[in-house]
Subunit: 404 residues, 2 copies
C-alpha cells in the first residue's frame, strides 16, 4: 500500500484527535496551545487613565497657549498611580496625575509635566496643545463581553501578557502528546558506546526528539533494539501507553525490514507501508486502539523529512494548533538542481531575500544518510513529481523551517 | 543621557560577557548553544556501507544486463546490518547485504534486492545497472580530524543528530543567563487579584518572561512592588544574584519614576536614561559589579519593543550565539502608515509574500499600553527617524519575529 503524500497526510490527520486539556500556571504557558476561548468580563483599560505624568485638566482651558502666554490653573487634587481621584475637575482647575492613574471626573485632557511649571497650587501651563489626546479611554483595547483570544491560539509573549491583563493566573491548555521513540537495527549502538566494526550510533532518536519538541510534544526515548521481531514487538507494547509510537529502521523491503511483521504480530492495522516522496519513501503507518504507530526510515535525513511531512502535522493537530503546516513561499533557485525527479522530492536548502524576491540554494549534501545539510538548512525546496533537472532561476515552492 | 538606539545597543553589548559553560545530557540540548567546537576523531560513515538491501558484487559483472538476459552470480556470504563480512568478493560472486551493513572487501557495487531472484546460492541479477552508485563510502560525510560543528552553534534537530553520530552523549553548552524581572508601580496587582478601582494587573512580568525564554534565557519572577525607592531598592538587591535585573515601570520623568533614584541609592552607574526610539523611549540602563540593570517602561507594548531592541541582543550574546539579531527583509507597505516620525519607530505588523515580493501591513492598534497587536504580529516595521507619513507601497525594512 504505497500512498501519495497528500493521501497519507489526510489519512493520518483524520485518525488523530486533539489532546485532552489541563490547567497550568500562566508562567509555564509559553509555546503551549490555549484550550479555552477567553472572553473579557470587563473593559480594558478598566478606567479612563493617563498615559503620562502631568496634569488632568479641562482640555479647552489650555488649548490657546502660545509662547510667552501660558495659562494658569489651580491644582485641586493629586492622583498617584494605583490611587483614585477625589475631586471633579472644573474649568480653571487641574489635578496632578501619574502615568497609569485614573482620570478625575470632569477632566477632558492631560498636559505633560514637562510643559508646566508648578508654584504652590498654581500650575503654569506653557503648552496645552493636544491635551485631549493624552487619555487612554476605558475599554479602548477590550470591551466587556469581547472574545479576546480564541481556543487553539499558540501562546506567545503577547498572548501571555494579555492573559495576565485578563487575570488568568492559570490557563487551560491542551496536554502535550507523549511520543515514544524506538531505534531498531542490529547495527545501532547507544550514543555513549565506542564503535566496533559494522556499528553506528543511535542518532535518529535524538534528532527526532528535537523535532518532536519543536512541534510542541514530549518524547520518551526508549533506546535501541536489535533486528528481532519479538524484541521490537515487546518494545512497542511497552510504548503503548504513549500517544504516538515512532520507530526508525526496518521500514523498507529487505529481510531485516521487520516493522511490517511486528505490526502484524501485534494486530496493528497497516495504513500504508510506503509514501511516494524522496527522501522518506520507506515509511509505514499503522493504528491499534486509536493509537498511531509510525515506522520511519533508519536513514537520518529520510527520517527527518518523513517526520516533517507526516508526523509534525499530526502532532500539531493533537497539540490543538489551528495551523498544522509550516509557512511556504515561492522562490527561485540560486543554483541548478541537476536530478530529474519521479516522486515528489524535498531538498534541504538555504533561502534568503535578494532584490526583494526570495532565492533558495539547494545544499550540496542531500544523501539520505547524512545530517550535514539538516544542520544548516533553513528551508526545504519542494520539487514536484516528474520534474526534469531544474536550471538556476527556476521558480520553486519552499517550505520555511520556522513555526508559522 | 538620551542615546541613539545603535549607541545604546553597542554600549550594552560591550558590557556583557558570554556565560560560563556547563555539561548537559545530549537529550536536554535542544535550543541550547554549543560551547565546544566538535572535531571528529574518525571517518563517517566509519566504513563503506550499503544504502539498501541487496547483493554486494563486482559492479562490472552485472552492468550488461538487458531484459531477458540476466547475469547469474554465486552467493558466498551474508552480512546483516551490525555484522561484518567474512569473504572477499571476486568476479562471479555476490554477498547478500542489508541496509547499513559494511561492504565486503572486493565489492564495487550493490544491486537492489528487487532486481534479483535467489535460487539457493544462485543469484539471478535481472538489472545490474548503476550498482556502483549504491555505496556510501567511508568518510564521505565526515573525515577524521574535520571540524564538524563550531562553538556558538544553536543546537537544532540536525545538530543533535550529528552530535549523536559523533558519540557526544554529554555536550558542553553555555549556561542560560538568569534574568530577574520586577514590576514596579503602586497601580500594579498580582495576576490572580480582583481589580479594585485604579489598579491593573502585572502583565509585563509574564510577557517579558516569555521574551526571555524565546531568547534562550531563564527568568525569576520577583513579583511586583509599590512606587517606593526603598522597597524597589530592596527588591533589586535581592535580585542581584541573577545575571541581569529587569524592572518595568518608573522609567520616565515624573515624580513616581523612581528607577533612576533607586540606581543612585544602590550605587548603580547610570549608562543612559532614555533611548531615541518609539515606543520604548523611556528606558534606563545601569551597571554595578559588571551586572546590568535595565529599567523598561511600564507600558507593555513599549516594554516589549525595548526588550526586542536592547535586551534580546545582550541575552543572545550572553547565551553564546553567533548572531544576536533577528532576520530583516525589505518589504512594501500593504497600507499607509499615517504618522510622521521623529525618533526611529517600530510598528507591529504582519508580513507575507505577494507576487514574489514581501508586503507588510501595519497593525491597527499601536498604542504603548496595548497588547492586541503584539499577540498577532509576525514582524516589526522599522520607520526611520524623521520620516513623513508613508503611503501604501512605500519600501520599508521589516524585522521578522522568528529566530535567525
Amino acid at each position: 500500500m504505497s500512498e501519495k503524500l497528500e493521501v497519507a497526510q489526510e489519512k493520518l490527520l483524520n485518525l488523530v484527535q486533539i489532546m485532552p486539556t489541563e490547567m497550568i500556571e500562566l508562567s509555564e504557558s509559553w509555546r503551549r496551545v490555549l484550550a479555552e476561548t477567553i472572553i473579557s468580563t470587563m473593559d480594558f483599560p478598566p478606567f479612563d487613565r493617563s498615559p503620562l505624568d502631568g496634569y488632568a485638566i479641562i482640555a479647552k482651558d489650555a488649548e490657546g497657549t502660545v509662547p510667552g502666554e501660558p495659562v494658569i490653573l489651580r491644582q485641586v487634587d493629586y492622583v498617584p498611580a494605583g490611587d483614585v481621584p477625589h475631586h471633579t475637575i472644573t474649568s480653571g482647575t487641574a489635578c496632578r496625575i501619574m502615568t497609569g492613574a485614573p482620570l478625575p471626573p470632569g477632566a477632558t485632557g492631560v498636559v505633560r509635566l514637562e510643559d508646566t511649571i508648578a508654584d504652590g497650587d498654581k500650575i503654569i501651563v506653557l503648552n496645552g496643545h493636544g491635551a485631549e489626546k493624552n487619555i487612554c479611554f476605558q475599554g479602548e483595547e477590550i470591551s466587556a463581553g469581547e472574545e479576546v483570544i480564541s481556543a487553539g491560539t499558540a501562546i506567545n509573549a503577547g498572548v501571555i501578557g494579555m492573559l495576565a491583563v485578563l487575570g488568568k493566573a492559570q490557563v487551560c491548555v491542551f496536554r502535550k502528546p507523549l511520543v515514544a521513540i524506538i531505534a531498531t537495527g542490529s547495527e545501532i549502538v547507544p550514543v555513549d558506546c565506542q564503535l566496533t566494526p559494522g556499528k553506528i550510533r543511535n542518532s535518529n532518536s535524538y534528532m527526532l526528539s528535537a523535532q518532536v519538541a519543536d512541534a510542541g510534544a514530549k518524547t520518551i526515548l526508549m533506546g535501541n533494539v536489535l533486528d528481532n521481531v519479538d524484541e521490537i514487538a515487546l518494545m512497542l507494547e511497552n510504548a503503548s501507553t504513549c500517544d504516538v509510537v515512532i520507530t526508525t529502521g526496518g521500514a523498507s523491503v529487505g529481510d531485516h525490514d521487520l516493522i511490517g511483521e511486528v505490526y502484524e504480530k501485534l494486530g496493528i492495522t497497516l495504513l500504508f507501508d510506503r509514501v511516494s516522496i524522496k527522501p522518506g519513501m520507506s515509511m509505514l503507518a499503522g493504528i491499534k486502539n486509536g493509537k498511531l504507530y509510525l515506522g520511519l526510515s533508519g536513514n537520518p535525513a529520510a527520517a527527518a523529512i518523513s517526520f516533517e511531512q507526516l508526523v509534525r502535522p499530526i502532532l500539531m493537530k493533537m497539540c490543538g494548533h489551528k495551523t498544522w503546516w509550516r509557512p511556504r513561499v515561492r522562490a527561485v533557485l540560486a543554483s541548478p538542481f541537476n536530478k530529474s525527479t519521479g516522486a515528489k522530492r524535498f531538498v534541504w536548502s538555504q533561502c534568503w531575500q535578494k532584490d526583494n524576491g526570495i532565492v533558495a540554494e539547494p545544499l550540496r549534501l542531500q544523501s539520505n544518510g547524512m545530517l550535514k545539510s539538516a544542520m544548516i538548512a533553513n528551508s526545504l525546496i519542494v520539487i514536484p513529481e516528474n520534474s526534469p533537472p531544474l536550471p538556476s532561476g527556476s521558480e520553486v515552492e519552499v517550505i520555511l523551517l520556522v513555526n508559522a
